[in-house]
Amino acid sequence: MNVDLNRNIFQDTWFLTGFLLAAVFTITILVGPMLAPFDPWDMSFTPISPPCAKHLLGINDGGQDIFSELLFAIRNTVFFGLTSGLVALGVGVIIGLVAGWFGGLIDMILMRLADVLLAIPAIMILILTAALFRPSPFMLSLILAGLMWPTISKTIRAQTLAKRECLHVKAAARIGGGNWYIIRRHLMPEMFPLYLIGFASKTRMAMFMEASLAFLGLFDPTRKSLGLMIAYAVKYYYMDIWWNWLFPPILCLSLLIMTLTFLAISLEKILDPRLKSVELLSG
């Protein structure tokens, strides 16, 4: 799984597109509040105005600048996704490695737990917790991570089971390397591609989940979120607002998800030798 990153990866159009989109979004997130011409909570403008030079995307029904709102909403959605993705990855990797390496009873308990979580629909749990306990978005992202790790840990565990039979792992164990040493030095580095792929797919899922929950109105209505913007805009779908109010958050959400999809697909192809095609390498 050694990859010559410089040569292969930037020749792949999937990766290149994803990378460029990711770069644009990163910049937006980092400097968004500075770019925003107005305070997105400022309700002093004329509601439902079409775009003009001052208000690039016009004004929404609450008298707020849509462009400023959008910049803040992207941030929230991405943060939610990243938190969820990272936590799910961390938990998934650790549980996968532990279950795979130690095996036996530990493996059994952890994997049955994963099976249980896989059987429960995440959206249902989220809707219920959000409705019942009104947790902060951060808490909700953690809850989502707690529901998403099983798929990651299943892949990691499977890979660990394969790797533990590798001679270099056995050799390290024979010379007296401890469990944590072997996990840290021999198993973890071997599975680097799986982390990227797992992280990308989970982040993607979390961002979509955030938008959905916001769309369903399970968040604080004043919070800026792509889902919430869509939800408000949809109420006025009969007016001529779709291209300046409804479309931008939908486009952003789609692009965000596409970014991660592209990255995941290309990394999966490049880092997993079984998917590595000649075309990909040469083209």
């Binding site: 001679l167 270099h168 050799a171």
Partner: protein
């Protein structure tokens, strides 16, 4: 007639320092017996011979008793002693030409004792001398030649004739066969045999171990003036107990061993006796061991403990300060605190099966310290299983394994790391045994890091470069940064070797360690391992398919067949005269003498009977009915109902 030497100590005075040449040496030679003294030069062999003759130089002082046929040497005055020399006890000196008078022809010199003692006239004496010279193989035409006109072998015969002229009962031969051709050697050994059959007592001083093993009844191994081992001559090359005897045997080129010569680590010493202090001399008098021209400060090596400790590969702390007595072990006498060469690993009834497929039947095996054991056998015979059990990577189903005197399984349970570091493993697939994400440095340093032996980066670096130098790999930073896939197989194999050696294990288990090397690298790597064996006393367990390789490096060879050891023994014994037909088949196929042995069909081996029965040309009904047991047979162990004999060897 016999010669008894009891507690003989000889010290050569040399200014304020004196050299301890012999210390409490006791030797008995009965009539008709030949006793050989072997050892490196400087071990005091010749001094002993001279002491028996009462010919020690004036600066030598001696203690102890020399009893020649009931007469104490120290009680005899010089004139009686002179009578006895040549008449009762004679010595054939080393340095042939130097012992003959260059201005007299040889027959005169041989006849001289006869004339001097007034036994006969010159004419008769010359006739008798001529006869004896002829008996000793000097041609008649040579009798009136001068020493410088004769070759070395002829001079040796002249000296023998000279010693024999008065027909003494005790003969001391000092290096009678050195620098002689094989035929002359044979001739001289025949003469020595004649002496023995005539009932003479022979003391043979030699460093020719083959002659010693062939001629003598008993061999004394002398080191720095002490006897380290007394053993039956036949065991000298095949079953030595003292590490020194083993090392001597390894250094000696015999016709039968094909193994590369090993040496003994370190140098020969002199033993110097210092006299410190003025009043109470004995209190301050102590013995030092000094390397000639050493940079040691005054040669002050520890004066206590075993003399061989600094060169011994199995020395333990006790060897440094405990007095080592000569201990009786079997028919050997050994001066070693560890009772001779220790066992490093022993298996007792160890067996293993995978599911219900037996891979290893109950096996007994003992590995000795500093030994290189080669395991040969067909593929699928259980070699790797056995090696992995030895290495502690597999757990046996039954039986016990003992490593350095401790039960291995318990040791592993209590403190696994301390056991793991004592055993180095080189795996069959060297490239796979290193993580592809480790650079050379990380791979080699990994065992060190795991064992926390050296925590600072600097000491790890030192350890790595030392071990890389040992396996002849460069330790420059650009090489250390490379990854396994950037190296060739030879380098990877040596990196693996470095990994296995960096913790300085006592045992190296290697599964085909050189299979992927080209012959030139293989030769280098094996040389290096043999050097390590000499230097560190590394014991090695090698699996190989290459019988030629086993022949070159193995001390002992084990042959495996269908999960059983079928033959174990000294390498040269097994290779020159296999006792098991399977071993013979292996060796013959390696020599290209066998054609088409593969029979397609089921490989099923019946639980009873010999596993080789279907392929054995000599099988009888018994072989089908009963599994053969391991039997001891002439230094080997064989699992065969009808082992081959030497006669069978020549049939083929």
């Amino acid at each position: 007639m016999n010669l008894n030497i009891k507690n003989l100590s000889v010290i050569y005075q040399n200014g304020s320092h004196s050299i301890q040449a012999l210390e409490e040496v006791s030797i008995d030679i009965g009539h008709g017996k030949c006793v050989a003294l072997v050892g490196e030069s400087g071990s005091g062999k010749t001094t002993l011979g001279k002491a028996c003759m009462g010919l020690l130089p004036s600066n030598a002082s001696w203690k102890g008793r020399v009893n020649i046929n009931g007469q104490q040497l120290e009680n005899l005055d010089e004139s009686v002693l002179n009578e006895m020399r040549w008449d009762k006890i004679a010595m054939v000196f080393q340095n042939r030409a130097g012992n003959l008078n260059p201005v007299h022809c040889i027959v005169d010199q041989v006849a001289e004792p006869l004339i001097q003692r007034g036994f006969s006239s010159r004419k008769q004496a010359n006739i008798k001398a001529g006869k004896i010279l002829e008996q000793m193989g000097v041609y008649r035409e040579y009798l009136y030649r001068y020493p410088h006109q004769l070759s070395g072998g002829q001079l040796q015969r002249v000296l023998l004739a000279m010693a024999m002229i008065l027909d003494p009962e005790i003969i001391i031969l000092d290096e009678p066969t050195s620098s002689l051709d094989a035929l002359s050697k044979l001739f001289i050994s025949e003469i020595i045999d004649q002496f023995k059959s005539k009932g003479k007592a022979v003391l043979l001083i030699t460093h020719d171990l083959e002659i010693a093993a062939g001629l003598a009844d008993t061999v004394h191994v002398l080191y720095l003036g002490r006897i380290l081992e007394t053993l039956p001559a036949s065991d000298l090359l095949l079953k030595p107990l003292h590490p020194y005897t083993l090392a001597l045997g390894r250094s000696y080129p015999t016709m039968t061993t094909a193994r590369d010569l090993g040496g003994i680590k370190g140098d020969v010493f002199y033993r110097l006796v210092h006299q410190h202090g003025r009043h109470d001399q004995d209190k301050y008098r102590h013995t030092h061991i000094q390397v000639p021209d050493s940079s040691h400060k005054d040669g002050h090596a520890p004066p206590f403990g075993c003399l061989f400790q600094s060169r011994c590969t199995q020395a333990i702390n006790r060897c440094q300060n405990e007095n080592v007595p000569l201990e009786k072990i079997g028919d050997h006498m050994v001066r070693c605190l560890r009772s001779g060469i220790a066992d490093i690993l022993s298996l007792k009834g160890v067996s293993k099966s995978y599911g219900n497929v037996p891979a290893l039947y109950p096996t007994d095996l003992i590995l000795k310290c500093g030994e290189l054991f080669c395991l040969i056998g067909e593929t699928g015979s259980g070699k790797t299983t056995l090696a992995m059990i030895l290495a502690g990577m597999l757990k046996q189903d039954s039986g016990e394994k003992t490593f350095e005197g401790r039960d291995m399984d318990q040791w592993a349970k209590q403190e696994y790391q301390s056991l793991a570091r004592r055993i180095g493993v080189i795996y069959q697939n060297p490239a796979e045994s290193i993580s592809p994400r480790f650079s050379v440095f990380e791979a080699v340093a990994e065992p060190l890091k795991i064992h926390k032996k050296a925590m600072s980066r600097e000491s790890i670096q030192n350890g790595v470069s030392r071990v890389l130098a040992r396996v002849r790999l460069s330790a420059d930073p650009s090489f250390l940064k490379r990854y396994p896939h950037e190296l060739n197989m030879g380098a990877i194999q040596r990196v693996c070797m470095a990994r296995a050696l960096i913790l300085e294990p006592a045992l190296l288990v290697a599964d085909e360690p050189t299979s992927s090397l080209d012959p030139s690298v293989q030769a280098k790597v094996l040389k290096l391992l043999l050097d390590l064996q000499i230097e560190l006393g590394l014991s090695m367990f090698f699996i190989t398919h290459n019988i030629g390789l086993a022949r070159k490096i193995g001390d002992r060879i084990g042959v495996m067949l269908a999960g059983r050891l079928v033959e174990v023994g000294p390498a040269d014994k097994i290779l020159s005269g296999p006792r098991h037909p399977y071993t013979q088949l292996l060796i013959n196929s390696a020599r290209g003498l066998v054609k088409n042995t593969f029979k397609p069909g089921s490989k099923e081996i019946k639980p009873v009977g010999c596993p080789f029965v279907s392929r054995c040309p000599r099988h009888k009904d018994l072989c089908r009915e009963k599994s053969p047991e391991m039997v001891d047979l002439d230094y080997c162990r064989v699992r065969c109902h009808f082992p081959l004999t030497v006669d069978h060897l020549y049939e083929n």
